[in-house]
């Protein structure tokens, strides 16, 4: 369903070019969870932003293709792209504390996506937003929906973000380190929720993280990024049992150290 070919995104600085994503190719099948693993600055978030075309100067998508359901997203007009964001492909962000707008209720924000893409009236959109809060297991969704983001805890906000991302039944969800900013126990809850929802809606998911443990628990296939390049790709078992690349071996060694 998603095929990324030779994606290359650069950031231009005064006198140098940062090759954030360099000739990256991978694919995501329907209903698959693909893990993208890499350290900070390896270009994993830039891949996510490039797929949704959320790259702004000084950054630029230099070349490549992002084929989504047979269409190259990089060739679409901005108007056509707006209809895809949130409706067909949506994204959950890293920091739940700044990713909700403080001046609107969570209901407003979930309903906004629904109103934008499905043309529902406010009332119908709100009813749907309540359903979505229920789907992400927020208790008393009917009253919580009128609350502002600051009245929610970090884990709850991330649930709201997931509800917002899923409100229009997208086919692909990009999760950009959604649990990095959360406590370990809350992390596990959010991961379980993602897994549950992925199965319920038969979603395709790209899960971006620097944590091999999460990849192991969640994904079937994984690509490993290092300095903007794919250094390893394959099923999680294959990569774990016989890593080909020195960087991947070091990552796995870290995992072993932590276990003992």
């Amino acid at each position: 369903m998603l095929q990324v070919n030779n994606l290359t995104t650069y950031f231009y600085q005064e006198d140098s070019v940062v090759k954030a994503v360099d000739d990256v190719s991978f694919s995501v099948k329907p209903g698959e969870i693909l893990g993208i693993l890499g350290e900070s600055g390896s270009g994993k978030s830039t891949i996510a932003h490039s797929i949704l075309r959320l790259i702004y100067p000084p950054g630029k998508i230099v070349s490549g293709e992002v084929i989504f359901n047979g269409q190259d997203l990089l060739q679409l007009s901005e108007e056509a792209m707006i209809k895809i964001r949130g409706a067909k492909i949506s994204m959950v962000f890293q920091d739940p504390f700044t990713s909700l707008n403080p001046v609107y209720t969570v209901g407003d924000q979930i309903a906004e996506a629904i109103q934008l893409h499905q043309g529902l009236k406010r009332k119908a959109a709100w009813d749907k937003a309540i359903q979505m809060l229920e789907t992400v297991h927020i208790k008393e969704p009917g009253s919580r929906i009128k609350d502002y983001p600051h009245q929610f805890s970090g884990g709850m906000r991330q649930r709201v973000m997931i509800a917002m991302a899923l409100a229009c039944q997208p086919e692909l969800l990009i999760a950009d380190e959604p649990t990095t900013a959360l406590d370990v126990t809350i992390q596990a809850e959010i991961l379980n929720l993602l897994k549950e929802i992925q199965q319920k809606f038969n979603l395709s998911v790209i899960y971006i993280t620097h944590n091999f443990g999460i990849i192991k628990a969640l994904c079937q296939n994984v690509i490993v990024l290092y300095k903007g390049r794919v250094v390893e790709k394959g099923t999680v078992e294959a990569v774990l049992s016989s890593p080909q690349n020195a960087y991947t071996k070091r990552l796995i060694a870290c995992l072993e150290v932590l276990k003992t």
């Binding site: 949704l52 959320l54 702004y56 100067p57 707006i82 209809k83 895809i84 964001r85 949130g86 409706a87 949506s90 994204m91 962000f93 890293q94 920091d95 700044t98 990713s99 909700l100 707008n101 403080p102 001046v103 906004e112 996506a113 934008l116 893409h117 973000m161 917002m164 991302a165």
Partner: protein, 266 residues
Amino acid sequence: MLRNKFAIFGLLVLGFFVLVAIFAPLIAPYDPGEIVESETLPPSFAHPFGTDDLGRDILSRAIYGARISLTVGIVAVTIAILIGTLFGAFAGYFGGWVDGIVMRFVDVMLSFPSIFLILAIQAMLTPNIYNVMIVIGLTSWMGVARLVRGEFLKIRELQYVEAAKAIGCSNPRIIFRHMLPNAQAPIIVAATLGMAGAILTESALSFLGMGVQPPMPSWGNMLMDAQAYMRDAPWMAIIPGLLILVTVLSLYFVGEGLREALDPRR
């Protein structure tokens, strides 16, 4: 903000002046243009603020003058805020060459000595109260533009802006629905302080004869009328001068109070 005594004082004074301005015809003892007594009478029981060089009641003129001065302040500031917010928002949001062009234009506007620019424009147009409001508005939006640009530069890095993009919001929607409400606190403060500036500019213009035209009373042109009588009838200058001072001071107090109350660090 209610803990700030100065701000409360300012708010009460302004509230009082606004009420006076709204109900001017009911409150004023005389018609502001009517010659009711002999000239330059000192304050007395019948005329608490005295009479002016034509024998008009200064209290009545001051009350109607409040109308003019406050209206000029409000309208001019509204124009300045609208223009400044629009330019600042677009510059801060889009950055790059949009930002470059808008901010250089702001720099150019700021390097004009604005009072002379206003005087030149007023000299070309008929100097009436509407032109005064528009011209003051058109020459005082640059500070607001800079302020709003700064806020937008800050806000656009926040993740909820990215999240709004990711659910498919268009640029205008992100600017006006998602970012502007988060930038409103400094804009409100700027509006309050800007109003003080606008009232002062109006007074200066009217004092120079390029603002509100007689017989319509404004605090500024009452001051102008007083020029020749400073020795014989000082109350003619003291009354409008004090009114301008108190109003502007109140606006500054309220502006400072708002700044403190809306400051997220507190």
